[in-house]
Amino acid sequence: MKERKGLIIGSIIILIIFITMLIKGNPSGSILVWIAALLTLFIYSFLYKDNVFYKFAEHLFVGVSVGYGISVYWQNSFIRLVFDPLFITRTYIVNGHFHLWLFLAIIIPTLMGLLMLSIFTKKQGWLIRIPIAFVVGAGSGMSIPSTFQTYIFAHTQNTLFITLSISGFIMIVGVISTLVYFFFSKEHKGVLGKTANLGIWFIMIAFGASFGYTVMARISLLIGRMNFLLHDWLGLIK
């Protein structure tokens, strides 16, 4: 009962604030901006308590996202890469001559993609292994050398050939002590234990920096919405 009273009083206060802002500001004349603003407020209403407005906005978001994703994939995958080359632009016909390889270059990937749908049948479900084997094989082949180069070789090289400076020294100590912390084949005692402890400090500092950035990111999102509400919707700020 007490909570409901608080909810009603809170809603009335927020309503009065927004009506005052609407009167004092220069509200947008666009219906789309109004819809976006109201949906923003619906979502933020969750901060007080789960409610029907929040649920409506959440479900609408999920539906719109799925619909958008399907339409973009349909247009850019099927229409642009399969339908158009097969039936409209006919890329496999060059100077009036039919080119089998160009035709197969469209047909084979399309059939492989269609095999993905075999999962929905009980008898032919095994056919999905063919495109999955292709995706896993090609994906591994593409990514393994690049991953080594990007994540291991380049960083090892950068750590080995470091300039003589305080930051360089800190980096060397940080890398070694952190690696020692993840060395579990020997008990962390004595010099090994102390180095591992130092590694924990480096890891904690990294977590702290990451958390600091995360706070900044979350506040930025709120700033973005606030800017939209006060500038685009209410016209209160220039």
């Binding site: 901060l47 007080y48 958008y68 994703g69 973009v72 994939y73 850019n76 995958s77 642009r80 890469l81 994906g139 593409m142 990514s143 690049s146 991953t147 180069q149 990007t150 380049a154 960083h155 090289q157 950068n158 980096m171 990294a206 920096a209 990451s210 950035y213 995360t214 706070v215 900044m216 990111a217 506040i219 930025s220 999102l221 709120l222 700033i223 973005g224 919405r225 606030m226 800017n227 006060l230 209160l236 700020i237 220039k238």
Partner: protein
């Protein structure tokens, strides 16, 4: 119950209200706190400045969604303003995930009215979105037309004046990926490591920390990190006189600073309350 005990049981909705006020008030009463340009941002700016006008294009990939737009939209706008006002060509990819296509188009719709002389196909080309993620990046290393036979509006690339001499990464001066995910690493892995493409990154603050090692190795030429990175870039293009438009990121930086101070205060108060209430409970048990 002591003061600290009460504070420990404070309804978290009061914290939400305080944060909302800390962001809301600086918008109405700006403080004009100074913004200093950091090296990673300056490096991106300098790299774009090195591109000759009417020369090879700057490639921008919009790998972000509406959820990260408050941080990444200002970066996209600032880069477009810098290039369009200096006659530098821009090649835009609508990201490696579907949402990026909408973000790129929305960004263009927002910026193009400021530059009525800028034309699609001549000053910029928007390629749209193609599914395939890493396959798209790899394929562009051989021939852009193979994966993007037309631009996003269905115009064949061969018919566009800007694309006459652009075929692969060799013809692209610099590439910037705007992303709030790990997509920039795909550009580094396939366009950078394999084809030697020079890459910069504009990312959300959440992801910024993980990219510093790649700045140190030179795998990223520079980085715009979060709203602050965007504000720094806005400052650089304003200083050069490229735009007089409303600086979205810079406006938000006052709110950002005040909110950070509040969070620092809350963390300190929260810790004091935690230890004080622990002591209070111990004493109570002894009694």
């Amino acid at each position: 119950m002591g003061f600290w005990e009460k504070l420990m049981k404070l309804d978290r909705r009061w914290v939400f209200l305080l944060i909302a006020l800390a962001v809301f008030i600086p918008f109405l009463k700006p403080l004009g706190l100074p913004i200093t340009v950091t090296k990673p941002v300056q490096d991106v700016f300098d790299e774009v400045e090195r591109i000759p006008p009417e020369g090879p294009p700057l490639m921008i990939s919009t790998d972000y969604a509406p959820a990260t737009a408050p941080e990444l939209d200002p970066m996209f706008y600032a880069l477009l303003r810098q290039c369009f006002s200096t006659k530098r060509k821009v090649l835009i990819i609508g990201g490696l995930y579907p949402q990026g296509a909408g973000m790129a188009q929305a960004g263009l719709n927002f910026i193009l009215p400021e530059f009525p002389d800028v034309k699609s196909g001549e000053d910029y080309v928007y390629l749209g979105y193609q599914p395939g993620v890493s396959a798209v990046v790899l394929s562009m290393g051989e021939e852009i037309r193979r994966i993007f036979p037309t631009d996003a509006y269905g115009v064949p690339l061969d018919s566009l004046p800007m694309m006459q001499r652009i075929h692969n990464y060799d013809d692209v001066a610099f590439m910037i990926d705007l992303s709030g995910s790990s997509i920039p690493m795909i550009w580094v892995m396939y366009a950078g490591a394999r084809y030697g493409q020079r890459i910069g990154v504009g990312t959300t603050a959440v992801s910024a920390a993980q990219y510093y090692p790649f700045l140190s190795t030179g795998q990223f030429i520079g980085m715009l990190g979060g709203l602050k990175g965007a504000a720094e870039y806005e400052k650089l293009i304003m200083k050069k006189g490229y735009t007089k438009a409303r600086e979205i990121a810079t406006i938000g930086m006052d709110a950002q600073s005040i909110a950070h101070l509040l969070i620092l205060f809350l963390i300190i108060i929260g810790n004091i309350a935690f230890f004080a209430s622990k002591r209070y409970r111990k004493r109570k048990l002894k009694v």
